[in-house]
Amino acid sequence: MIAALKDFTDRVFGRGDAAITVPPFDGALKPNQLLEEAAVVCELEAPEDLATDGQAVFVADGARILRLDAGGPAEVAAADGTITALACLPGGGFAVALDGERVRLMGGAHDGRTWDAAGGRAFKAVNALSAAPDGGLLATDGSQARPYGQWSHDLMELGRSGRLIQLSPADGGAREIASGLAYSFGACAADGTAWVCESWRHRVVRYNGTGAGAVVVDRLPAYPSRLTPATGGGYWLTAFTARTQLIEFILREPAYRKRMMAEIDPRYWMAPSLSASTSFLEPMQGAHIKTMGILKPWAPPRSYGLVMRLSTEGLVRYSLHSRVDGTHHGVVAAVECGGALTVLSKGRRRVLRLDVADIERSLQA
């Protein structure tokens, strides 16, 4: 009764869960243009994920796995479906998610091993894989309701059906560590626990073996995507787009959302987007009016590019940005290899590279 009353007053006054405030990009998240100005390694057709084995960086592009060599990308393997997640296995070989519905090992000791379900439920949207030091494999299945490509449908339906799954390459086992997540997207093993990104709750959660979750970092101003380890401890956390008050508002407007989903082409929804606006059919917000030919970089970001460097405790140390007036948006993966950070801007279909030492120097200056 009291909870219902509180719910009601929250809705009337816009407090609590009904609040549509978004944390500001401030402190360690203070905007810069490092990502926008980063060197472009290559442009690809349909890049989805990055992985590294410590020697080279690999990128999943459609059904192919490419190695990023000095001379350009070179194909090293091909799968029989669209790769939606990629990880390098410690003993050599790759783990890939195919069409979001299967996870398969390619090369290595258990070549060919395949999973298509865990905990009795089939995979629907496997979007990240990460090899754990103990030989296991962490996978996130973003949604039980919508396939991988329809992530914005899942957001607009307030999806809460994501899972964190542990796969065992050695014996083929599959175990649900957590379920009911608000779009799990990206996981990483850390000191015997598993960290997982919950995009629609804008946070990273830590799960130990018993299945109890603890918040590592929350109230992010962006929707987090994949997590990878960083040299010297800590992690790289990417965010595929930033939050806006209008989207937060629309998420609390069921009637509009329902009609929008029913009547409008998903490309033109008032929903987060991976790439910068290219068509006037996409919605425009007040601050997006170009004045004297300039689009304000601080306008509400329908799409955005963001990479965050987390400490071992999960605090944001610093961040790299591509702001609203830029195009390196929809960042879904970042991996560090040999002192260089390779970043995948899915929205711009580009692979970018930055020198970690350079980043830290320029941010300290």
Partner: protein
């Protein structure tokens, strides 16, 4: 005057195209949506914000309370509002009313006077002492009593005004001191006062006389109140008082004699209290120990209830009067209902607390409330948008024709909403610095400020005598003579009786054209928003605009058509009897006949455009150019059908986050009078020329303006008449 209805898309108004789309949309309209449409069509949501922004709402609310109280008590008590009862009450009301006036003055200047009750008692005693004990004549006793009141007030005034003591504590002390003096005095003199009955006609007349049935005190009160109203609202000293109450420091910095003015307010309060004391003495001739006891609470309640702010700077005589009547009705009502005295005071104190809370909360939140309720979106349904895809085969199919536009004045001119060329190929454009800038041919690199007007120039047109008429956002219609003199043509039109906002002044004159007889027809985009807020109209989507006619022959202005959804471009049609005009957020072009057999009628020319039409101008082949300032997007089209969604959005989000009409990409189309679109010209991506609000054809080129651009575009037309000059065509002259 013609008023456009909301049903823009009814079959009767159909142009050639779009009819099928309209029927499809009508068929898909659900039951709920029909209710929404009717509710927003007939319920005037926008009036709430307009009423709240009026200053008189602060008086209107106490007046409504007064009416409710009077009505309620009249129901409960027989004869409560009978003439006899009212006459008796009015004598009492007059006495309290004078004190409330004094209190109001002190509160407006930013203070408070708690000693009014004791002052009242002392001045009452003074009058009685002079007449009953010293047996002075009335004519001498009155001025001395008033002077005595002034003296008592001056004590407060000097302490608060000159010595800068806190008003509350100072008057609390004088309350006690005056009361003690009064108690000492009545101990000594009450028997002497009671033992003598003065035999003076004049004194009796003051006590219970009337003129034509109206008690004397009411007449005196009316005279004082009228003077007080004029004083506070029209005289310099009254403005000083309000200014000091609003901000004492600013008033001081502007050179107002703050200390003296504050002191004089307390003196005046003392005098007004003495007037009340005089009338009371004449009426009852009593000097009991409870006279004026607790009066300050009654008076304060009346003032606050009337709407005189405790914070100072706000208040009026009308509010003081209304507050007085409410309090008096309540106290008299409670007495008639034989409520004990304790209850009476408790009710008053309760009302005081409530009124004070409302006063403070209202003052603090007034602007926030108004800004939240002012934007009132309405239902606005458009048929499905025609495709603009490059391969769609429609006349709107996107292309790259405007990619080769060259820029004039890049980075030198800001915000050229409209451009125009004269017979000598000079190019004129407005800028947001309030100038009309002239570029010189042939290459338009050299320019000068042709005329400085001060407001942002929007639409422009030459009349037959080479006067350049310019619509100035926020100012009205102006005219620049050939010798560069700036003259105001008009800045107001007739006030419409249905509008709460004063819509006689022009807020956003937008574009114009001139008829053969010299009459200027110009659009006013909105009567609810200022120049810089014009995109908010895309959220509201109500018919807030109008078309106005200015006749230079008679120098008169009147509204021709109202209720239009952001009327914008205007162009005289080929028959010389009608204008074509664009409704930007209605996504239509319509035609209005100002002369001829169809005079006064409005007819649809093109509806369901895929974008937001802006200026309209003549093309050399007899057709018309139309600029599209922006293009429709499905998310907003849907939101236009959901006014509740937009209202909540406007309430809860900052303007920068609102879903707006997309005005970053536009195009130019050519159409004929039948409403057929002949071609469209685009610059995909808008890199070269981001926004198009106007275009003007001249000697084989198209010149493009954009209100948020820093350039003027120039585009070579391949198949246009190389000798076309709009002025010559319009006025039948040869260059």
């Amino acid at each position: 005057m013609v008023t456009a209805t909301e049903t823009d898309h009814s079959p009767g108004l159909q142009g050639g195209r779009g009819a099928a789309g309209t029927k499809a949309a009508a068929a898909t309209e659900s039951m709920g949506e029909t209710l929404t449409r009717l509710r927003y069509r007939y319920w005037p949501d926008h009036m709430l914000g307009e009423i709240l922004s009026k200053r008189w709402t602060e008086t209107a609310i106490p007046v409504m309370v007064l009416i409710a109280v009077a009505f309620g008590l009249n129901q409960a008590i027989d004869g409560f509002l009978s003439p006899a009862s009212l006459t008796a009450a009015s004598r009492q009301a007059g006495e309290i009313g004078f004190i409330v006036l004094g209190m109001a003055l002190v509160m407006i200047v930013g203070g408070i006077d708690l000693s009014v009750g004791s002052t009242f008692a002392l001045t009452n005693f003074c009058a009685l002492f002079l007449i009953h004990v010293l047996k002075w004549p009335v004519a001498a006793a009155i001025p001395i009593t008033l002077l005595f009141g002034a003296l008592l007030g001056a004590v407060n005034g000097i302490l608060i005004g000159y010595l800068r003591l806190r008003a509350f504590i100072t008057t609390l002390i004088t309350l006690i001191v005056y009361r003690s003096i009064y108690d000492l005095l009545i101990l000594q003199y009450s028997n002497a006062i009671a033992g003598y009955m003065p035999d003076s006609e004049a004194w009796n007349f003051i006590g219970d006389g009337d003129i034509l049935g109206v008690p004397l005190i009411v007449l005196v009160y009316a005279a004082v109140a009228i003077f007080g109203h004029v004083f506070l609202t029209r005289l310099r000293a009254g403005w000083h008082i309000t200014a000091i109450g609003g901000s004492r420091r600013s008033a001081y910095n502007s050179g107002i004699a703050v200390r003296r003015t504050v002191a004089m307010c307390y003196v005046t309060c003392g005098v007004l209290t003495a007037v009340a004391g005089l009338f009371f003495a004449a009426r009852l001739a009593t000097a009991g120990s409870d006279i004026g006891l607790g009066l300050e609470v009654t008076v304060l309640t009346a003032a606050v209830l009337g709407g005189i702010s405790l914070g100072g700077g706000k208040g009026s005589v009308a509010k003081a009067l209304v507050g007085t009547l409410i309090v008096l009705f309540i106290t008299n009502g409670l007495v008639s209902l034989s409520a004990p005295g304790g209850i009476n005071r408790m009710v008053l104190a309760g009302i005081l607390i409530l009124a004070a809370v409302i006063d403070i909360r209202w003052l603090k939140n007034r602007h926030r409330i108004i800004s939240k309720v002012y934007v009132s979106p309405t239902y606005h349904a458009l048929p499905p948008c025609p495709s603009t895809a490059p391969d769609s085969g429609t006349p709107f199919a996107q292309n790259d024709k405007l990619r080769n536009v060259s820029a004039i004045g890049l980075g030198e001119i800001e915000a050229p909403e409209d451009v125009i060329l004269d017979r000598h190929d000079n190019l004129y454009a407005g800028s947001r610095h309030g100038d009309v800038v002239r570029f010189f041919p042939p290459n338009y690199e050299r320019w000068e400020v042709y005329a400085h007007i001060g407001g942002q120039p929007l639409g422009m047109a030459f009349d037959r005598q080479d006067n350049l008429y310019v619509c100035i956002g926020g100012m009205g219609l102006y005219r620049i003579t050939p010798d560069r003199k700036v003259e105001k043509a008009t800045d107001e039109t007739n006030r419409s009786w249905r509008s709460v906002n004063d819509d006689s002044r022009l807020r956003l004159a937008d574009d114009l054209d001139i008829a053969d007889d010299g009459r200027v027809f110009f659009s006013e985009a909105t009567v609810r928003y200022e120049m810089d807020e014009w995109p908010v109209e895309s959220v509201e989507a109500r018919g807030n605009g109008r078309i106005i006619c200015y006749d230079p022959n008679t120098n008169t202005t009147h509204t021709a058509v109202s209720g239009l959804k952001f009327p914008n471009g205007i162009c005289i049609a080929s028959d010389g009897q009608s204008i074509l005009f664009a409704e930007t957020f209605g996504c239509t072009v319509k035609r209005y006949w100002f002369d001829g057999p169809k005079k006064g009628q409005v007819e649809m020319v093109m509806d369901n455009l895929p974008g937001y039409p802006d200026n309209i101008n003549l093309a050399s082949d007899g057709n018309y150019w139309l600029a599209m300032v922006g293009m429709r997007c499905p998310a907003l089209d849907l939101a236009w059908r959901m006014p509740g969604f937009r209202r909540r959005m406007a309430k809860r989000l900052p303007v920068d986050e609102w879903l707006f009409a997309n005005i970053n990409t536009g195009c130019v189309i050519k159409f004929n009078e039948k409403g057929e679109v002949l071609e469209s010209m685009w610059d995909l991506g808008g890199q070269n020329h981001p926004m198009i609000t106007s275009m003007r054809e001249h000697r084989g080129h198209l010149y493009l303006g954009g209100i948020l651009n820093n350039r003027i575009g120039r585009y070579k037309l391949s198949d246009a008449d190389p000798n076309f000059v709009q002025y010559d065509k319009r006025w039948g002259k040869a260059s």
